[in-house]
Symmetry: C2
DNA sequence: CGAACGCTTGACATTTGTCAAACGGCGTGG
DNA sequence: CCACGCCGTTTGACAAATGTCAAGCGTTCG
């Protein structure tokens, strides 16, 4: 990334603080003062928002290598809750120090801006999913996305364990848990995948891709 | 904002380039190389994404004082189309110069980071809307949001003209234009507002707020 | 002045949600 | 170690919400 040794050491220092979060524990709560963003070293998280009127929605799932907390910058408070779905391990990156350092180290600044923008784009694709796909298309898109992220981290793209419940998947996809369950069963009946509880094996990824891509034709 | 004169002049210089965009013209297209972000001086825009398979979705509406183009940073190309819904006037802000300057001027860096984060939060609230609200609740939320933004720009909060069609509203809200139209008619029947084509007069904002807040109780 | 476009409304189809029942795996405590 | 109970899941029957298709109307703009 075009860093000299000194710059590299500074960034190393930045990410030194580590933190363990056990399954079902919160990394932060909505409303907490925003002080740091977090890079996931090991584990799996969900972020969700719970409104006063009882509306509750999962806004994302994050796995090792991904960043948590970028939404907090806007108002100096965390906007959502971050909950570990399995025992996890994160690097805490104090935000004021990150801002300072990114004024000095241009590649860091660029990288950070790209991270923020990527988050905006990611959310746009979810808006697309929620706004224009039907239940099975949503689930297919969700599975393909998960599969691709697993693969890019060196895991199998075709076989993995879900860390979240049907209800959490449904909340994320704007569906009820029964609808998610039915879609899984339908995919299995059609031979696109096998499901045993949380264990998923994708048998026909192309069929899933067709579902997502060819919708509404 | 704690700027000295020299800093202020530099920022002035940054936003000197102006550009007019006529109604229905594109400010940029998806796929265009990303070079600048845009601050809207006068006018009204929509952003949308059109996928190969014909899926089409409005991802946002932007009015004077708001920023366009933050999604392009991620991959150095614009991800969506930006189209003027009325004759408009924007400030072009070359992004590499903005990055340079924000390394020197801390308040600018902070402000820019907040803008990015605010965009992330804005999109989260749309995910919330698309994922957990019903048609009338979505339209109510949309109108209240528009109303509030009009007001914060010095216009009437209760009476304004929509710049977009029912179809564009529907696309944004994940609904068909007929559903949007029916929801407008229902609101009018119930005395919450009056509609004449694009002209909206909100009569009972509290009732709209109740719709949004109390849903699913 | 007319044609195109956007909007409204109706009748009906489809999708998804709701409610209910039952199953199965997993963990806990006897 | 086994039994029980809980939680998450699956499935069915039915209800509600939204989409689809079609017709007709009003505006607006060329």
């Amino acid at each position: 990334m075009g860093l000299d040794n000194h710059e590299f050491e500074q960034i190393e220092g930045l990410i030194a603080a580590r933190k363990r979060v056990k399954r079902q524990q919160h990394l932060y709560h909505a409303g907490d003062p925003f002080e740091a963003i977090y890079a996931i070293r090991i584990g799996f998280f969900k972020t969700d928002i719970l409104t006063e009127d009882g509306r509750d929605q999962v806004t994302g799932f994050q796995m090792a290598g991904e960043i948590l907390g970028l939404d907090g910058i806007s108002i100096d408070r965390h906007v959502c809750n971050a909950v570990a779905l399995e025992d996890s391990d994160v690097c805490m990156i104090p935000f004021d120090r990150l801002e300072d350092l990114s004024r000095k180290v241009e590649p860091l600044q660029r990288q950070f801006n790209k991270f923020m923008s990527r988050e905006i784009v990611r959310e746009q694709s979810i808006m697309m999913l929620l706004g224009s796909m039907r239940a099975e298309e949503r689930l297919a898109a969700f599975l393909l996305n998960l599969s691709q992220r697993m693969q890019s981290r060196g895991y199998s793209a075709s076989e993995f364990n879900l860390r979240m419940t049907r209800e959490e998947i449904g909340s994320y996809l704007g569906l009820k848990l029964e609808t998610v369950s039915r879609a899984f069963s339908k995919f299995q009946d059609e031979g696109l995948l096998t499901v045993h509880q949380k264990h998923i094996q994708i048998l026909d990824p192309d069929a899933l891709r067709t579902l997502v891509g060819r919708a509404h034709v």
